[in-house]
C-alpha cells in the first residue's frame, strides 16, 4: 500500500512542478541554514575530554584583596604560583596539575631546518594521566623531575615528525630556546576542541606541541603567554612571577567520585580560611570546582554570535515551515474533490491521511537532500572564514542523520494540519469544481 502512496505523491508533486519546487526550495533553505549553524554550535560545544570530562575539575580560589571586593563576585580564573604550589604539595585530589603555556623557539638538530616558534605547555607531571593523554613512545616525567627541574620534554607526534622524522626520539636532545632538553616521551597529537585546559590560548585549532616541567620553564626563563592578572602591588614582571600577587597558572584536578568532589571542595574552603588567618587572603572563602563542560559553559566558550546565527536559522526554518504549511493546505484542500471520490470508493480516513502525509514526507526528503547539499556548501563557506574554529566545521554522521530526521519530521508535522483538514472531507457524489 505504501508503494501506492509513494506513487500518488510522486504524481501529485509532478503535477504542480513550480509549487513543489517552491516547497522543496523553502524546506531545503531552512534545513540547510539550520544544519550549517547547528553543526557549528555542535562542533564548538563538543566534549573535549570524552569519558573523563565529568571527573576533571578546574579549581578557582579567591585571593584578591578586600578593596575591590563585591559580594557574589567570581574568583579569578587562574591561581598564583604560591597557591598552586600549596595545593600541589597537599595533593588532596586523585591527580592534580599546575600549568601554563608559552611560545618557545625550537632549533632542530638538522641544521638545514630554520629555528621556529611553537606553543608549549609547562606543567607538573600529572598532566598526562589527568587528561588521559596517550603516549606513543616513552612516558611522562615524574614528580621528582618536577622538583629537580629536570631538562626533559615530551613532544607530540607532529613535532616528532617534523624534527625527528617520526622515529622513536626518546633519549634524544631537542634544543629549546638556549637549552638542550632530553626527549622522554612522544604523545599522540592532543588538540582538545575547545582547548578547555587553557582558554587564553586560541580556543580552537591546534594545541601545544611541546610539554615540559613547569619548574624547568621557570629555570630556563621561558616566557609564559596567556593572561596575567595582578592585584594589590603585584607587578607582571616575568622574572619574578613566583612571588608576585598575580594569577597566571591553571590548576586542574581529578576527583573520581562525588564524595571526593565534596571533600575536595571542603578542603579548598578550609585552605582559603587558613590563608585568611595567615593574612594572605583578605576575602571570605570563595572557591569553585568546575567539571570540564560546566567550565566551558561558565566561560561561554561558544561565541554568542554563533548561537545568534543558529537562532536566526531556526527562526528562518520556522518561517519556511509556516510557508510550507500554507502551501500544502491550499494544495490539499484544492484536492478535496479527489479526496471525496476516493472516500466514496472506499478509502478510509486513515488511508487518505497516510497518502497526504507521504506526500509531505516526500517533500521533506527532497528538502532534506537539498538542505544537506546547502549545509555542506554552508560549512564549506564557514571553513573559508579565518576563525580559529573554522577548520572544525564538518558535518559528522550524527548531524548528517539529524538533517534528514529534522527535514522529514518538520515537513510531516507541517503537513499534519493540512492533511487532517483534507481527510475530513466527506465522501462525495460530486467532484466539487469550485
Amino acid at each position: 500500500m505504501f508503494a501506492y502512496y509513494l506513487e500518488l505523491a510522486w504524481r501529485s508533486l509532478r503535477r504542480n512542478k513550480s509549487l513543489t519546487a517552491l516547497m522543496i526550495f523553502a524546506v531545503a533553505l531552512g534545513i540547510g541554514a539550520c544544519m550549517t549553524t547547528l553543526t557549528v554550535v555542535h562542533v564548538l560545544s563538543g566534549d573535549p575530554l570524552p569519558g573523563r570530562g565529568d571527573r576533571v575539575y578546574r579549581v578557582l580560589l579567591d585571593a584578591e584583596p578586600m578593596d575591590s571586593y563585591r559580594k557574589d563576585g567570581n574568583p579569578l580564573d587562574q591561581v598564583t604560583w604560591v597557591d598552586g604550589m600549596n595545593l600541589l604539595r597537599d595533593g588532596k585530589a586523585d591527580r592534580q596539575a599546575l600549568m601554563t603555556g608559552g611560545n618557545v623557539a625550537v632549533t632542530p638538530p638538522d641544521a638545514s631546518l630554520d629555528p621556529f616558534y611553537i606553543g608549549a605547555r609547562y606543567s607538573t607531571s600529572d598532566i598526562f594521566s589527568l587528561f588521559g593523554i596517550h603516549f606513543i613512545y616513552g612516558g611522562a616525567w615524574t614528580a621528582k623531575d618536577d622538583a629537580s627541574r629536570a631538562r626533559v620534554a615530551v613532544i607530540t607526534r607532529r613535532l616528532n615528525d617534523k624534527v625527528f622524522g617520526g622515529a622513536n626520539s626518546v633519549g634524544r636532545n631537542l634544543r629549546v630556546s638556549d637549552a638542550d632538553l632530553r626527549v622522554i616521551g612522544v604523545i599522540d597529537d592532543w588538540d582538545p576542541q575547545p582547548h578547555f585546559h587553557d582558554l587564553d590560548m586560541n580556543t580552537y585549532g591546534d594545541s601545544e606541541r611541546l610539554y615540559l616541567p613547569l619548574g624547568t620553564s621557570r629555570d630556563l626563563g621561558l616566557g609564559h603567554s596567556g593572561s596575567t592578572n595582578c592585584y594589590g602591588n603585584g607587578r607582571s614582571s616575568e622574572k619574578e612571577l613566583e612571588t608576585q600577587s598575580c594569577t597566571w597558572l591553571q590548576y586542574w584536578v581529578e576527583l573520581d567520585t562525588a564524595a571526593k568532589r565534596d571533600a575536595y571542595h571542603e578542603y579548598l574552603v578550609n585552605y582559603s580560611r587558613a590563608q585568611h588567618d595567615h593574612g594572605r587572603f583578605e576575602r571570605p572563602p570563595n572557591v569553585r570546582l568546575f567539571d570540564v563542560m560546566s567550565w566551558l559553559d561558565y566561560k561561554r566558550v561558544v561565541p554568542g554570535d554563533v548561537k545568534i546565527q543558529a537562532w536566526l536559522a531556526i527562526g528562518f526554518l520556522i518561517v519556511c515551515l509556516v510557508n510550507t504549511v500554507g502551501l500544502m493546505l491550499a494544495k490539499f484542500l484544492r484536492r478535496s474533490g479527489e479526496v471525496g471520490v476516493r472516500r466514496a470508493l472506499g478509502a478510509t480516513r486513515g488511508e487518505i491521511l497516510t497518502q497526504l502525509l507521504t506526500e509531505a514526507g516526500m517533500i521533506g526528503l527532497a528538502g532534506g537532500i537539498g538542505g544537506l547539499v546547502l549545509a555542506i556548501l554552508g560549512l564549506w563557506l564557514v571553513r573559508m572564514q579565518p576563525h580559529e574554529y573554522a577548520k572544525l566545521a564538518h558535518l559528522d554522521f550524527t548531524m548528517f542523520l539529524a538533517t534528514f530526521a529534522l527535514a522529514i519530521a518538520s515537513t510531516v508535522v507541517a503537513g499534519l494540519l493540512p492533511a487532517l483538514r483534507a481527510c475530513r472531507v466527506a465522501p462525495a457524489l460530486q467532484l466539487k469544481t469550485q
Binding site: L19, L22, F25, A26, L29, G30, A33, D67, S68, N103, A105, T107, D114, P115, F116, Y117, S177, D178, G221, G223, S225, N233, R235, S236, S237, E238, K239, E240, P303, G304, D305, K307, I308, Q309, L312, A313, G315, F316, I318, V319, C320, V322, N323, V325, G326, L327, L329, A330, K331, R334, V382, Q385, P386, H387, L417, R421, T433, Q434
Partner: protein, 409 residues
C-alpha cells in the same frame, strides 16, 4: 478607488486557516528581519570603528629572539636606525601593543592614591617610544612626551626606583570619563598607585585588544621604552605611504635578518590586514545575517505568490461573475492588492510584538542592546512593499480572468 474592506474581511474569514498562516509568516518575517537588520547595523558600526591611527600607512614586523640576549637594548636601537634608513619609511618605532591585536595590557586609573575602586578599571595601555608619531595620532590638546620622560619598561617591571611613568597621554574618551566636568590636561591621575600627569589628549586611539561595547577608545599611552625581551616583546611599527607597504615590509624583514640572523620572524603584516582579521568574525556574522534575511524575504515573497495563485485559481468563477456583473479589471486588481495589504498589516502588527519579544530574549541572553523603536516602522514598510510586490503577479492574473468564465461550470 478605495476598496470596501468589509467584504474582503468576510471573504478572508472563509479561508481562516490559510489567512492566519500567511499572517503568521509575515509576522515572523517582520520580527526576525527587524532584529537581524539591527544586528547587522551593530556589526557594521563595529567594523567601522575609528582607530585613531593611520590605518593604511602602518606596517608591522615582529622578530623573536632565540634564547636570552644581553645586548637587546643596543640591538633595538640599531634595528630602529636601520629601519629608518629604508627608503619610503617615514617613521619607525618599537611598540609593545598595536591596535586590533589579540593581546594587550590593561591598567586601572584612580584619581587619588587612597581611592579603593578605580575610576576606570580597564584602560588599554600602550608602551613604546614615539607612539603618537608612529601611529599618526591626532593630538587635540597638550603635547607629546619629551625624550627625557621615557623609562625602560623592564625597569618598571623589576620595580627599579625612578622607573615609574610621571606623565601620560589619554584619549578624549578617557579624559571625559575621568573628568566629566573639567579639562583633564595637567591633572594628576594615579596609575600603578603613583601619580602621573596628563600631558596630552589624543582624539582617538582604539584599544589594543577586544573591548566592551562603548569602550573602544579607552586607551592611554605611557612613556615607556620597550625592547624585544620585555615580557610582552616588541613590534617594529613603521609608517610609509599606502602603495609602498609591501615593498617596505620585505625590505624591513631583509634588513632585520641581515643585522642578526639568529631570530625568528613571528609577524609581518600591515595594520589594514590586522584590522581585517580582527573584524573577520563580525564580517562573517553580518554576511550570514544579510544572507538569511534575504532568503527569508524571498521565501515569504514566494509564499505570498504561491498562496495568491491558489486563491486566484480557486476564485476564478467568482471573479468571472464579478466581471460579468460589471467589475473592471482594475477593481479585481485592487481587490487582491487590498486583501494582501490587510493581511500584511495584521502580520506587521503581530510581528512588532514578536520583534519586541525576540529583542528582549537577545538582551537577556546575549547582553545585546535593545532594538531601537525606529526599526519597527522600517520593517513595516519593507513588509508592505514585499507583500504588494509579491501579490502583483497573481492579482494581475486574476484581473485577466474573462467574464465568460461565469457562464462555464
Amino acid at each position: 478607488m478605495p476598496m470596501d474592506i468589509l467584504p474582503i474581511l468576510a471573504s478572508l474569514r472563509r479561508h481562516k486557516v490559510t489567512a492566519i498562516l500567511l499572517i503568521l509568516e509575515i509576522a515572523l518575517t517582520c520580527a526576525i528581519v527587524c532584529n537581524a537588520v539591527f544586528l547587522i547595523g551593530l556589526r557594521l558600526d563595529r567594523i567601522h570603528t575609528p582607530s585613531g591611527v593611520a590605518d593604511n600607512e602602518l606596517i608591522m614586523v615582529r622578530m623573536s629572539n632565540i634564547g636570552g640576549r644581553s645586548d637587546v637594548r643596543a640591538r633595538t636601537l640599531e634595528d630602529l636606525a636601520a629601519l629608518r634608513g629604508i627608503p619610503g619609511v617615514r617613521s619607525a618605532a618599537i611598540l609593545a601593543q598595536t591596535p586590533f591585536g589579540y593581546s594587550g595590557t590593561t591598567s586601572s586609573i584612580k584619581l587619588s592614591s587612597d581611592q579603593k575602586l578605580p575610576t576606570i578599571s580597564y584602560v588599554s595601555t600602550y608602551f613604546g617610544e614615539g607612539v603618537v608619531n608612529a601611529f599618526g595620532l591626532e593630538l587635540v590638546q597638550g603635547r607629546d612626551f619629551s625624550a627625557d620622560e621615557y623609562h625602560w619598561l623592564q625597569d618598571l617591571n623589576l620595580g627599579l626606583p625612578g622607573s615609574s611613568p610621571r606623565s601620560v597621554i589619554v584619549t578624549e574618551a578617557v579624559a571625559k570619563r575621568l573628568f566629566p566636568d573639567g579639562n583633564a590636561l595637567g591633572k594628576d591621575v594615579y596609575i600603578y598607585d603613583e601619580p602621573s600627569r596628563v600631558i596630552g589628549i589624543v582624539r582617538h586611539l582604539v584599544t589594543s585588544q577586544e573591548w566592551v561595547p562603548g569602550q573602544e577608545d579607552y586607551s592611554m599611552i605611557l612613556p615607556m621604552r620597550v625592547s624585544p625581551d620585555a615580557g610582552m616583546g616588541g613590534t617594529y611599527v613603521m609608517r610609509t605611504s599606502p602603495d609602498q607597504r609591501d615593498r617596505v615590509l620585505d625590505a624591513a624583514v631583509a634588513k632585520l635578518k641581515g643585522l642578526d640572523p639568529r631570530r625568528v620572524l613571528t609577524q609581518k603584516s600591515t595594520l589594514e590586514k590586522q584590522r581585517a582579521t580582527f573584524f573577520s568574525a563580525d564580517r562573517a556574522t553580518a554576511g550570514w545575517l544579510i544572507a538569511t534575511c534575504a532568503a527569508l524575504l524571498v521565501v515569504t515573497a514566494l509564499g505570498i505568490v504561491g498562496l495568491g495563485s491558489f486563491w486566484v485559481a480557486q476564485r476564478r468563477r467568482q471573479i468571472g461573475v464579478r466581471r460579468a456583473l460589471g467589475a473592471r479589471r482594475v477593481d479585481i486588481l485592487r481587490y487582491f492588492q487590498t486583501e494582501n495589504f490587510l493581511l500584511a498589516t495584521f502580520g506587521i502588527v503581530l510581528g512588532m510584538g514578536m520583534a519586541y519579544g525576540i529583542s528582549l530574549f537577545l538582551v537577556l541572553q546575549y547582553e545585546l542592546p535593545r532594538l531601537p523603536a525606529h526599526y519597527l516602522p522600517m520593517g513595516a514598510v519593507l513588509l508592505w512593499l514585499l507583500g504588494q510586490g509579491a501579490v502583483l503577479s497573481p492579482a494581475l492574473r486574476a484581473a485577466s480572468v474573462p467574464p465568460v468564465v461565469a457562464t462555464r461550470g
